[in-house]
Amino acid sequence: MIKGLILGILGTAAIAFFLVGSGYLDKKEVPQSKSVKIETGTPNTLQAVKKRGVLQCGINTGLAGFAYTNDKGNWAGFDVAYCRALAAAVLGDPNKVKYVNLTGKNRFPALASGEIDILSRNTTWTFSRDVKLGFTFIGVSYYDGQGFIGRKKLGVKSAKQLDGASVCIQTGTTTELNLADFFRVNKIKYEPVPIETNEEARKAYLSERCDVYTTDASGLAATKSTFSDAENHMVFPEIISKEPLGPLVRQGDDAWADIARWTLNTLINAEEYGVTQANVESLSQGTKNPEINRMLGSEGTLGQMLGLEKNWAVNAIKAEGNYAEIFEKYLGQKTPLGLSRGLNALWKDGGVLYAPPMR
């Protein structure tokens, strides 16, 4: 009897203690001293990467042109090339990358938890991802927009005629949200069929589970390039959204974000200055153009400012070439995707690619 009473009182006390612990839920300010720094929250990503000797880069589970395994069994593609350039800039070797394949759904938890150092997986830069999810987008590597692909025999000329159609989408993407907006604004009904990866969506579309498949236009071109009967399919003219795709890092480590941002800018500036994979080594000995000299390290201390080697940019460009070389190699007219530069041409060529000066 007494024992039960005492147990009860102490049990209540223990539960109360637990509740006090969880009471932090309501508190706005938490004393910093109470928190224990977990490895995942490491503020100095650069140091962590150097110490590890390998860059952990999050990429797609498989999307032709952007992230795929080549005939040697290695990962390659537009998004992968950026990982390699960054690894070369930071560690001096483009092969020191550990690729982590992520779906649209698990990419953000992977970045937030510190499983990867950078996410380079055709991810759209949006307000809420930048502000609310606690990430920093370091730039735009590909200006894209959402489109639809369907069979020619449907006889549909425009996405607005899709009333009642089944639409395959990848879950956890901005396309899922754009799609809902598009059909709501145009007051037409549809059946969304949510799918986890691009590969599964491709299968579902080919088995005619869906009438149309929607994703970024570049992704549609990539997916279409893998169809055996590509001529029976068409991409509809509508582009229903802006999809600026780019790499992103965790918020709170500005030094690391700077390194990632200026590696991308270097690739774009290299195209502008005519620095290529072939000539970067000789140009790094010094040229008449001070912009090139600063970028490649024969003048000034840009590398030092980032906490990197003097020849960081040389390494980054040597990895896969400048932006134009990477684009043409994986996405351009000579590839199965056959994408034209369009918006992704340099500003002086009529596109919107414009990297700030290296100064």
């Binding site: 007494i2 024992k3 005492i6 147990l7 102490l10 049990g11 223990a14 539960i15 203690f17 637990f18 006090v20 612990g21 969880s22 932090y24 839920l25 938490v30 910093q32 109470k34 928190s35 224990v36 720094k37 977990i38 929250g41 649209g104 759904k105 953000f108 938890p109 937030a112 809420s128 609310k132 999810l133 606690g134 449907l154 899709l162 009333d163 009642g164 159609a165 089944s166 879950t171 956890g172 899922e176 949200l177 799609l179 809902a180 907006d181 709501r184 549809y190 059946e191 969304p192 069929v193 949510p194 986890e196 579902a204 088995s207 005619e208 589970r209 009438d211 965790r250 918020q251 709170g252």
Partner: protein, 396 residues
């Protein structure tokens, strides 16, 4: 002075009690463990919150009121992209409950049939069931779900649908059925059926007492049939058939009208039922075999027919063995339904994952998943335990 025959006891209020008394020591260690566990959870919670704050993320469930902005195809209640995250979770929960209850019903039916048939003296029948049980039990459920989904999506396109009775259409978009439209007078028929059921239950109780008192019996089943089936049917025609059917119509992309059972739901339902059904059939077989042959012989010598022996002698005893493992199978089936994510059936896990991705509130969503599955499981367990108690042998 020590009184003989009475040991000196340390008072519970003395500190010595917690060390020198056996019970006291036990109590002390239990409290220490309890304290340790509680402070561990307290620490984990506080630390998580603190680290979230540092990363600029906030914890809490207020985000559930935010607008979802995505659409859900499979839904039992109305939902649009302007509804809230919270409502989306409810849609997911209902989808989980839908496929679980459908699965439990068919798995039980299938399991009992298969379990009984496996014991049949018909060589072909028992071996066929044996093959079914071994194949479905030994192939991973995920593969079976994907197999059924691939099969169903490989069906003809909607224009070449396989049509049953001219109103059901099976195609690679699912099974399209006519939807009933109830007129308001249908309510009277419902009321009549419900009162018929209540009346039958009362009659049954009365009949039991009558039989105990005088040995006379009363045809309860017949009167029940009259009240529950015949009278409502008569009223149905008297009210000029207050149900009409909305038939599916072919449009450009798909059927419109009626309601559609998606291939995702069908695949999941079939896979869960056949998989769990195989396990249940083995449980049923073990239950039946646990009844000693002497019972059957006794029943036969009393003149009970084969059917009566099964119904009155074997099954009631077998149930005592069957129910507890059956409960585990029901719980498994409910939890296995979360494999829905592989084929895009929008259950609680699938929709929760989407919300997690769009809102970034991972911890809260995972907490909701855990609480919901725990509640469903505990609810099922409580019900099955109650049922188990009800049918267990009354020992005298």
């Amino acid at each position: 002075m020590i009184i003989p025959g009475k040991e000196e006891k340390n008072s519970i209020f003395a500190l010595r009690y917690f060390w020198f008394e056996r019970r006291g020591r036990g109590l002390l260690f239990q409290l220490l463990v309890l304290f340790g566990v509680a402070s561990f959870f307290g620490f984990v919670t506080a630390n998580t919150i603190a680290n979230l704050e540092k990363a600029g993320l906030t914890a809490g469930f207020s985000f559930l009121n935010n607008q979802a902005f995505f659409d859900i195809n499979q839904r039992l209640i109305s939902f649009s992209s302007q509804s809230s995250f919270g409502r989306a979770l409810v849609v997911g929960l209902l989808n989980t409950l839908l496929v679980s209850s459908l699965g439990i019903a068919t798995a039980t039916l299938l399991g009992f049939l298969a379990g009984i048939c496996r014991l049949s003296h018909n060589w072909l029948l028992s071996r066929a069931i044996g093959v079914y049980v071994e194949v479905t039990r030994n192939v991973p459920l995920l593969l079976q779900i994907i197999f059924w989904w691939a099969t169903l999506t490989a069906l003809p396109r909607f224009k070449d649908s396989i049509t049953f009775f001219e109103v059901f259409h099976l195609n690679n978009r699912g099974l399209r059925c006519p939807a009933p439209i109830f007129e308001s007078s249908f309510l009277w028929i419902c009321l009549l059926i419900i009162s018929g059921i209540l009346l039958t239950i009362l009659l049954k109780n009365w009949q039991r007492r009558l039989k105990a008192r005088s040995g006379r019996s009363f045809p309860v089943s017949l009167t029940g049939f009259l009240f529950i089936i015949i009278l409502p049917t008569l009223l149905f025609f008297a009210l000029d058939r207050p149900i009409s059917w909305e038939l599916p119509q072919v449009t450009r992309f798909n059927f419109q009208g009626g309601f559609n059972i998606s291939p995702e739901l069908l695949a999941l339902w079939i896979a869960l039922s056949t998989y769990t059904g195989a396990f249940i059939s083995e449980i049923v077989r073990s239950g039946i075999l646990s009844v000693s042959p002497g019972q059957v012989e006794a029943a036969r010598s009393l003149g009970l027919s084969r059917n009566q022996t099964m119904r009155l002698i074997i099954m009631p005893q077998a149930f005592r063995v069957i129910i507890p493992p059956l409960t585990s199978q029901y719980l498994n089936l409910t939890k296995n339904s979360s494999l829905a994510i592989a084929i895009g059936y929008q259950d609680l896990v699938s929709i929760g994952g989407t919300i997690l991705n769009q809102s970034g509130h991972a911890l809260e969503i995972v907490a909701i998943w855990m609480v919901v599955y725990l509640s469903i499981s505990i609810g099922t367990s409580l019900f099955m335990n109650w049922y188990n108690k009800k049918i267990s042998l009354v020992e005298r």
